[in-house]
Symmetry: C2
Subunit: 243 residues, 2 copies
């Protein structure tokens, strides 16, 4: 149906809000928006992350741009997309909360993969701050490297989930690990914790994720995890990884 811009302001209003609704009517667009709330990405990278052809991703991004939910930055021949402001992320989070509250399926899905109302309680931000100060805990950022670079908890080390297995041997078994990811709907940290626990390690998830940390007004650090690549030898015990 066609709802042209009429003289009736009230109808117009809902019309405008529906532009936003259009974005979240498609699962892939929700996924894309969720990704963009974490860090900016190129069209190509988004395609790889979602399994869509870049041309399809571009089409979805145009819909999101129409709704002003994303902004772009050009760098050379590449275009980086990002969520257009804090409100967008808050909206996505609210959508997730609502799904969790009203759709039993959402909770089931999360639980099925180990997140959800998990067996082990999570570490609160306050507790993490306290324990980090005393130095007996390793804070692990298991999100993709670009998201870590876009912002992370100070002192956390970047170890994307897919590299976790490979580096399991490097952990100091004497320290507890606190892993975090993107938030309550994200499964990266729960999976990491499951992996670590399977090895007999002490590991828990942080409550929520990085976005919530930032929104709580806590300090954040940015930049890649030692640009050179490998971490500086010898300093790693600070982070709880055996050299």
């Amino acid at each position: 149906m066609e709802y042209e811009t009429s003289a009736d302001g009230r109808a117009d209003l809902y019309e405008q809000l529906a532009r936003i609704g259009k974005v979240v009517v498609h699962p892939k667009r929700i996924e894309l928006l969720d990704l963009l709330c974490q860090a900016e990405r190129s069209v190509e990278a988004l395609g790889a992350a979602t399994g869509l052809k870049f041309t399809t991703v571009s089409a979805h991004l145009q819909v999101m741009r129409q709704a002003r939910l994303v902004e772009t930055r050009r760098e050379g021949t590449r275009v980086y997309y990002r969520a257009a402001g804090e409100e967008v992320c808050r909206f996505v989070a609210t959508l997730g909360d609502l799904g969790r509250a009203r759709l039993a399926e959402v909770d089931q899905i999360l639980r099925a993969i180990g997140a959800g109302s998990e067996s082990t309680e999570r570490v609160t931000r306050a507790e993490l701050l306290k324990r980090a100060r005393s130095g007996d805990v390793v804070v692990l950022d298991v999100r993709p490297a670009e998201e870590y670079a876009a912002g992370h908890i100070p002192g956390a080390i970047s170890l994307p989930l897919e590299h976790l297995e490979a580096r399991l041997g490097e952990f100091d078994p004497g320290l507890e690990v606190v892993a975090y990811c993107r938030g309550p709907l994200c499964l990266l940290a729960p999976e990491a914790v499951a992996t670590l626990r399977a090895r007999g390690m002490q590991a828990r998830c942080l409550e929520d994720g990085f976005p919530e940390w930032r929104q709580a007004g806590l300090r954040v650090a940015t930049g890649a995890d030692t640009p050179g690549g490998a971490r500086e030898e010898g300093h790693e015990t600070r982070l709880g990884l055996a050299r």
Copy 2:
């Protein structure tokens, strides 16, 4: 496209959230949901409020029911719909906030009708409480009667916008009026204030609206405004209406 329930939990998750998105992709459904966040209503009443044939409204309601955003209650031959919980209202409010923040059109529309970043600042809840105690202010609920009945600010008098003109003469010109409605996206109170001011009265809007009042944990009253119909004679000065 068809996104069947696959083994990939992640895809499933966004799929489920898209069920909610489906509700807000259609302007009329947003309008319906917004109405249901205010008070429960029958299918017929919703049709009248939105200008849709009841059969169309029913179809929209099924979509909302699928997403579990509404619940029903049967009373005789009539079915009353309502928003399914606080989270739903919060979601609608967040959608409105996002629209306001990102879509200039939304703000323009609101401003065009007198709401939006209006010329007169609004009264805060704290200020209203204080002044209500000293009794030099009339609190006016300009929403439809059924919404007033479903919950209102204690001491407020119900005077739906469409009856305001007719009863203008009853106001005590010595008192300031504070009008409220459904929230920042609602235009009822701003219009009421405009009408009152045109008559030279002191009038302002309350910040936000009733839902926010309730969410702030403040006291609310329920029930119709004197079941008999006319307000008790003689007690009205308490409310600022001349007898």
